[in-house]
C-alpha cells in the first residue's frame, strides 16, 4: 500500500495551524486595541505630584500663611521583619496596643473590592502623619531598628502670626464627597475647609504634576515612560495678598480679649477688609494636620464661647441706634424731611435720654434722639399715597426695603469667604406672614425706626455701612484678597455699588457723626482721637437674654477717610462705653501706628466683659 497521499494531510495540518495563528496574531496585534489597553494597565503607573499651596501675605507683605515641612512615618509591610511592637510604641510614645490597632485601622480604611481587601503588602502606607521636624529628628535615627519603616517629607501649613483664624480658615483631608465632586483630589489630599483656604482653594492648590512610570510585576516603578516625554511638572498655587493688616488684626484681637464680639475694619476707598476680629478666637496652628485636628477640633467645637463661630460674618445682631443713619438718609432722599427738620423729643412716643431738642439732622444724629427718628421713619413709611393706612404702609415699607438693600443690608454681601449671612430687613412678606395681609401699619412695626425689633445686621454689614458713610454713598463689596498672584482682586470686587441716596444728603449726617465724638452731648466722646477727626455713631442693642450689646460704627479721618470700622461688644451695655473706645484705638493704631493715650488702652485690655455664668 502506498500512503504517500497522507503527506498532504500532514502538510495541511502545518499550513492550517500557521494560517490560523497568523490570523489570530493579526487580530490581536493590529485590529484589537484591547490588549494594548491591558498592557498599559499592567505596566504603566501614573504618579501625581502635589505642589505646595500658594502662600498668603498681608497688605504689608508679611507672610501670614506659610508652608512648613512636616514628615510622615511610612511603612511597607512586605519589608517589615521581626517587628518589636513594644520598642516601636516606646519610640513613638504611644500605647503598645496602638501599634496593632493602627495596622488594622489602615487595612480597614482601605476598604475592599469584591470581597478582597484593597490593602497591599507591597504598597506604601502612612503609619503616623504630620510629624514635626522635632519629632522626626528624635524618631528617624532609631528607624534602622525597624526595617520596613521610613519617613517622607510633606508640606503643611503654618501660620506665623497665630491671628485671624476666622480669616485664614484651615485645611483638612478631603471627604469622599469632595473626591467624587472633583477629580483633582485623591484620598489623603488636603482641602481648604474654611476661610480664605476654602474660598480660594482653586487658586491656592496649584496644578498637580504627573509622572508616567513603568512598573514591574511588584508595582515598583522601574523607569520613566517614554523617557518622561508625557510628564508634566507640578505648579505651586498662586500667592494671595490680603488687604488685612495682620498687626492691626493682632491688636484688635488683643483689645477684644476677655470679651465676646467683633471688630470689622475696612479701607473705605477699596473695600479691602483691614481686620476682622471675632472674639474669642483660636490659634490657627491648632488645626494644622490630622493629629492636631483630631485633638483640638472637638475642644473648639464644644467650647461654650464658640471660638470657631465667625461672628463678624454670621452673627446677626439688632443694630440699635446706628440704624438711625439710614433713616435720616432715606428720609432726605424721599424728601419727607430736610436738613433743618426739627422734631421734639416726645418721650411718650418712645423712650429717650435727656438732651437738648434736635433742631436739625446733624443734631438728631449727635443726640441719637429716639422720637426724632421715630417721626422720620413714620414719614418714610406713611407717605399717604393711598387712603388705606395698611396699603400705604405696605408701599412705604417696600420702598424702605429697597433703599436698605442698596446699602447692602438685608442681602448677602458677596465677600470672599463662604457662609456670610444676610441679616434681616423685615419686608412686606415678612409682616404679612406675621400679622396677616393688611393687618399691620407703621404703628405695628415702629421699632424698626431705631434698629430694634426684627431688624438684624451682621457686623460686616455694620462696617460696610460705616464705609458708605465714609464714602458718602458708595462702597466696594468688602473683601479680603486684594490680589491673586499679580492679577488684582476678583472682578466682582472692582464694581462700585451706589446707594439710592444722593451723596449730598450724606453731608449733614456725617456732620452729625462728627459731633457724636467731638461735641458736648455727643454719645461717643470716648472715640475722640487727638489730631484726627473721627466720625461715629453709637448703638445699644437691646438684648432680651441679658445685658445690652454695645455697638459703634465710625470712620476717620472725616475727610479722605483711611479706615471705617464697626465694633460690636456683646453684653457690654451702652455703645459709647466700650465699643467706641475700642474703635478709636483701632483707628488710631492704624492711622498713627501708635497709641498716645495709654490709660485708655489699658482700660480696654483689662476689661473682662465675658458673661459671668459662662466664665
Amino acid at each position: 500500500m502506498n500512503f504517500e497521499g497522507r503527506k498532504y494531510i500532514i502538510l495541511a495540518l502545518f499550513i492550517g495551524v500557521s494560517i490560523i495563528y497568523s490570523f489570530k496574531l493579526f487580530y490581536m496585534q493590529v485590529l484589537d486595541d484591547k490588549w494594548k489597553l491591558n498592557a498599559e494597565q499592567i505596566s504603566e503607573k501614573r504618579r501625581e505630584i502635589t505642589p505646595p499651596r500658594g502662600v498668603v501675605f498681608d497688605r504689608n507683605g508679611k507672610k501670614i500663611i506659610a508652608n512648613r515641612p512636616y514628615y510622615n512615618l511610612n511603612f511597607i509591610e512586605k519589608n517589615i521583619t521581626k517587628l518589636d511592637t513594644h520598642a516601636l510604641a516606646q519610640l513613638l510614645e504611644v500605647e503598645d496596643t496602638f501599634i496593632r490597632w493602627r495596622f488594622s485601622e489602615i487595612v480597614r480604611t482601605e476598604g475592599e473590592y469584591k470581597g478582597k481587601s484593597n490593602y497591599r503588602r507591597n504598597r506604601v502606607y502612612s503609619f503616623i502623619k504630620d510629624l514635626s521636624k522635632e519629632e522626626i529628628a528624635r524618631i528617624a535615627p532609631e528607624l534602622y531598628r525597624f526595617p520596613g519603616f521610613f519617613e517622607s517629607p510633606t508640606s503643611m501649613r503654618a501660620y506665623p502670626f497665630a491671628n485671624g483664624a476666622n480669616i485664614v480658615g484651615y485645611l483638612a483631608e478631603v471627604s469622599e464627597e469632595e473626591i467624587k465632586a472633583d477629580d483633582f483630589y485623591k484620598r489623603g489630599d488636603q482641602i481648604g475647609k474654611a476661610g480664605i483656604e476654602r474660598y480660594y482653594e482653586k487658586e491656592l492648590r496649584g496644578i498637580k504634576g504627573v509622572k508616567y512610570l513603568l512598573q514591574d510585576a511588584q508595582n515598583n516603578a522601574t523607569q520613566p515612560f517614554e523617557g518622561g516625554r508625557l510628564d508634566t511638572i507640578a505648579i505651586q498655587g498662586k500667592n494671595l495678598t490680603l488687604g488685612v493688616d495682620i498687626e492691626l488684626q493682632a491688636y484688635g484681637e488683643k483689645l477684644m480679649q476677655n470679651k465676646l464680639g467683633c471688630i470689622v475694619a475696612i479701607e473705605p476707598e477699596t473695600g479691602e477688609i483691614l481686620a476682622l476680629v471675632s472674639s474669642p478666637s483660636y490659634d490657627p496652628n491648632m488645626l494644622v494636620g490630622k493629629r492636631n485636628i483630631s485633638e483640638n477640633y472637638p475642644k473648639l467645637v464644644t467650647d461654650e464661647l464658640k471660638p470657631l463661630y465667625p461672628r463678624p460674618l454670621q452673627a446677626e445682631y439688632p443694630p440699635g441706634s446706628i440704624f438711625k443713619l439710614t433713616q435720616a438718609l432715606i428720609g432726605m432722599q424721599e424728601g419727607v424731611i430736610h436738613v433743618n427738620s426739627s422734631y421734639p423729643c416726645n418721650k411718650s412716643l418712645v423712650g429717650c435720654h435727656n438732651h437738648p431738642t434736635a433742631t436739625s439732622i446733624d443734631k438728631a444724629v449727635q443726640f441719637s434722639c429716639n422720637p426724632y427718628f421715630y417721626a422720620v421713619t413714620k414719614r418714610i413709611i406713611e407717605q399717604n399715597k393711598v387712603r388705606s393706612v395698611f396699603v400705604d404702609a405696605e408701599i412705604g415699607l417696600h420702598l424702605w426695603e429697597k433703599y436698605l438693600h442698596s446699602f447692602g443690608l438685608g442681602i448677602k454681601l458677596e465677600t470672599d469667604i463662604s457662609g456670610v449671612r444676610a441679616g434681616l430687613i423685615p419686608n412686606v412678606a415678612f409682616y404679612d406672614k406675621w400679622y396677616g395681609k393688611h393687618r399691620w401699619a407703621f404703628s405695628t412695626i415702629r421699632s424698626i425706626a431705631i434698629g430694634q425689633g426684627e431688624v438684624k445686621l451682621t457686623p460686616l454689614q455694620m462696617a460696610n455701612l460705616s464705609v458708605i458713610m465714609a464714602n458718602r454713598g458708595w462702597f466696594y463689596t468688602p473683601h479680603f484678597v486684594k490680589s491673586i498672584g499679580d492679577d488684582g482682586p476678583l472682578p466682582k470686587f472692582k464694581v462700585k455699588n451706589y446707594t439710592m441716596v444722593d451723596s449730598i444728603h450724606y453731608v449733614p449726617v456725617v456732620e452729625g457723626m462728627r459731633k457724636v465724638t467731638e461735641e458736648a452731648g455727643g454719645t461717643a466722646r470716648r472715640a475722640r482721637i487727638d489730631g484726627i477727626t473721627v466720625c461715629g455713631k453709637t448703638g445699644t442693642a437691646q438684648n432680651p437674654h441679658g445685658e445690652d450689646h454695645s455697638v459703634f460704627i465710625g470712620f476717620a479721618p472725616m475727610h479722605n477717610p483711611k479706615i471705617a470700622i464697626a465694633v460690636f461688644t456683646e453684653n457690654a451695655g451702652f455703645g459709647g462705653t466700650w465699643s467706641a473706645p475700642i474703635a478709636s484705638l483701632m483707628m488710631e493704631y492704624f492711622i498713627k501706628g501708635e497709641i498716645k493715650d495709654k490709660a485708655k488702652e489699658e482700660r480696654i485690655f483689662e476689661a473682662d466683659l465675658l458673661p459671668k455664668k459662662k466664665k
Partner: protein
C-alpha cells in the same frame, strides 16, 4: 560509502541556513529578554545569553561530530541509544526534585534534561523498528510494538512528571499515521462487540490519529475562547465564543473551495470539495456539541476542566499567565515597540512569567510586532515543509520515518508554544525550538536537525 560522496555537496544548505538563522535570532531575542544592565556583554557567560552561546557552540561541535559519523553507524547504534536514554530516564527519577519535578541532572552550572533526548532516541528507535523488512503497520503485533516504543519513555516521563514533553510524544502517532498505521482491527473488534453488528473495515481506523487530534484540538480551543468576544475584522459585528470558530470555519471552507477550483485538476475537484464541506460540517457540529456539553456540566466539573486547561491555576486569578502573555503579544502592534523596548515581557518588569523560556515568543512579538511574529511563523512553516520535503525524497524508510519524527516534534513545539502565547492552547510548559532559553532543548533540537542533515546527505547511498 561511495567514492564521490561529499558532505558539502550533498547537504541541504537551505535547511542548514534556516537552522543558523533561527538560532541567531534566538540568541538575539534572549539577549533582550534577559538583559542584565550589570552584565551587558553578549558574551558574558554568567548570563543567560552567554550560556545560550556556549550551548550553541556545543551544539555545533556535536553537529560536526555527527557529520563525521557514518549514517550507517547511527542506524546501527539506534537500539543502544534508545536503551541508554531509557536508563537515564529511570536514573533521573532518583535525583532531588527541582520545582516539584525530577527532570534534571545538574552538572556544574548547567543542567541536562534526559527527556529532551528521549525524543531523539524514540524517533530513531521508531525509524529502526518500522523500517525493518517484515514489519507492516497493518498487523496487530507491529502496531502494538511500535506504540510500545513510544509508550515506555512516556510512562517514565509521567513519573517525573513533565506534562509538556509527554504531550510532545503523541506527535509520533502522526509519524505512524504517515506510515499507514491502522487501528481498524481494534476498532472493528470493539464495534463488533455490539450485538448484531458485523463490519470488516472502517474509514475511521486508518485516519484515527488525525481525526482524534482535530477533535481534541478543536474541543480545547472551543473551551479556551468560550467567554471571549471579538468583532469581525473591519466591521462592528460582535462574535462570541463558538461563533468565532464557526465564522473561521466558514471562511476557511470558502478559501479551500476557491483554492481547489483554481489549482486542482477537474476530476479531483468535486471529490475534494465534497470532502472539505463534509469536514467543515463535521467540525462545526463538533464545536457546537463541545460548547453545549460544557455548558451543561456542573460547576465543579467545569472548574476541574478549567484547571486542567490552565485557566484557573494562578493565585492572581483565572488566566493570569495567559492574560499577561496575550497582553504582551497584543500590545506589540504592527511594528512592535522596538528591540529591548518591551514593557511587559521585559527583564526589568517581569510582568510575563517564564519569559525567557516558555513565553519567549512574548518578548519577540512585543518588540517586533506583527511583522516579527509573522516572520517567525513563516520560518517555522518553511522549516516544517522543508522537513516533509526531505522526508519524502528519502529512499530509505528509516530516513523517512526519522524525518517525519523531526517534522512532527518541531510542529508540536511550534504549535503548542506559540498557541499558548496567543491564547489558543492551554499553558503547557514546552520550549519554542531555538528561541527559548535552555541548553538541553537547544542541544537536542540541534542534534535532531544535524542527524537529519547527515542522513539526508547520504540518501543516495542507501536503499533502505
Amino acid at each position: 560509502m561511495s567514492r564521490d560522496y561529499s558532505l558539502t555537496k550533498e547537504m541541504d544548505w537551505t535547511m542548514f541556513t534556516l537552522y543558523i538563522v533561527m538560532v541567531t535570532l534566538g540568541i538575539g531575542n534572549i539577549y533582550s529578554a534577559s538583559f542584565n544592565e550589570d552584565a551587558p556583554n553578549l558574551f558574558d557567560f554568567t548570563q543567560n545569553y552567554g550560556k545560550q552561546i556556549i550551548w550553541t557552540a556545543i551544539s555545533l561541535f556535536i553537529g560536526f561530530i555527527i557529520f563525521l559519523l557514518d549514517s550507517e553507524f547511527i542506524r546501527k547504534s539506534t537500539s543502544i541509544i534508545y536503551g541508554v536514554v531509557l536508563i537515564l530516564l529511570i536514573l533521573v527519577l532518583f535525583t532531588p526534585p527541582i520545582n516539584g519535578a525530577r527532570s534534571w541532572f545538574g552538572i556544574g552550572g548547567f543542567g541536562i534534561q534526559p527527556s529532551e533526548f528521549a525524543k531523539i532516541s524514540t524517533a530513531l528507535a521508531l525509524s529502526a523498528y518500522v523500517s525493518t523488512v517484515n514489519i507492516k503497520l497493518q498487523d496487530k503485533k507491529s502496531v502494538f510494538i511500535s506504540n510500545l516504543l513510544i509508550l515506555v519513555p512516556m510512562v517514565l516521563i509521567v513519573l517525573q512528571p513533565d506534562a509538556g514533553t509527554l504531550v510532545v510524544f503523541t506527535s509520533f502517532l502522526f509519524v505512524l499515521y504517515r506510515e499507514g498505521i491502522t487501528y481498524d482491527p481494534l476498532i472493528v473488534y470493539v464495534i463488533n462487540q455490539f450485538p448484531g453488528v458485523r463490519i470488516k473495515k472502517t474509514l475511521i481506523g486508518s485516519n484515527f490519529i488525525p481525526i482524534l487530534f482535530i477533535v481534541i484540538f478543536l474541543s480545547i480551543v472551543t473551551l479556551l475562547i468560550n467567554e471571549n468576544e471579538v468583532m469581525i475584522p473591519f466591521t462592528y459585528i460582535p462574535l462570541k465564543g463558538v461563533e468565532i470558530i464557526l465564522f473561521t470555519i466558514v471562511i476557511l471552507t470558502i478559501l479551500f473551495v476557491l483554492i481547489v477550483q483554481r489549482f486542482i485538476q477537474k476530476r479531483e475537484r468535486s471529490k475534494l470539495i465534497a470532502l472539505g464541506i463534509v469536514s467543515a460540517l463535521f467540525i462545526g457540529l463538533l464545536v457546537f456539541f463541545v460548547d453545549f456539553a460544557f455548558d451543561k456540566l456542573k460547576e465543579h466539573q467545569k472548574d476541574r476542566i478549567e484547571l486542567v486547561l490552565g485557566l484557573k491555576e494562578d493565585p492572581h486569578g483565572k488566566d493570569y499567565n495567559r492574560f499577561r502573555a496575550m497582553s504582551a503579544v497584543g500590545s506589540g502592534g504592527f511594528n512592535g515597540k522596538g528591540y529591548k523596548e518591551a514593557t511587559l515581557a521585559s527583564p526589568r518588569s517581569h510582568h510575563v512569567p517564564e519569559q525567557e523560556t516558555d513565553f519567549i515568543f512574548c518578548t519577540l512579538s512585543e518588540e517586533w510586532g506583527f511583522i516579527g511574529s509573522i516572520v517567525v511563523v513563516i520560518l517555522f512553516l518553511t522549516f516544517l515543509i522543508k522537513t516533509v520535503q526531505i522526508a519524502e525524497r528519502q529512499r530509505s524508510v528509516y530516513n523517512r520515518i526519522y524525518a517525519y519524527s523531526v517534522a512532527m516534534i518541531f510542529f508540536y513545539h511550534f504549535a503548542i508554544n506559540i498557541g499558548m502565547n496567543i491564547g489558543l492552547v492551554p499553558v503547557i510548559g514546552i520550549p519554542l525550538p531555538f528561541f527559548s532559553y535552555g541548553g538541553s532543548s537547544l542541544l537536542s533540537f540541534s542534534v535532531m536537525v544535524f542527524i537529519l542533515l547527515k542522513l539526508d546527505s547520504e540518501r543516495k547511498e542507501v536503499l533502505r
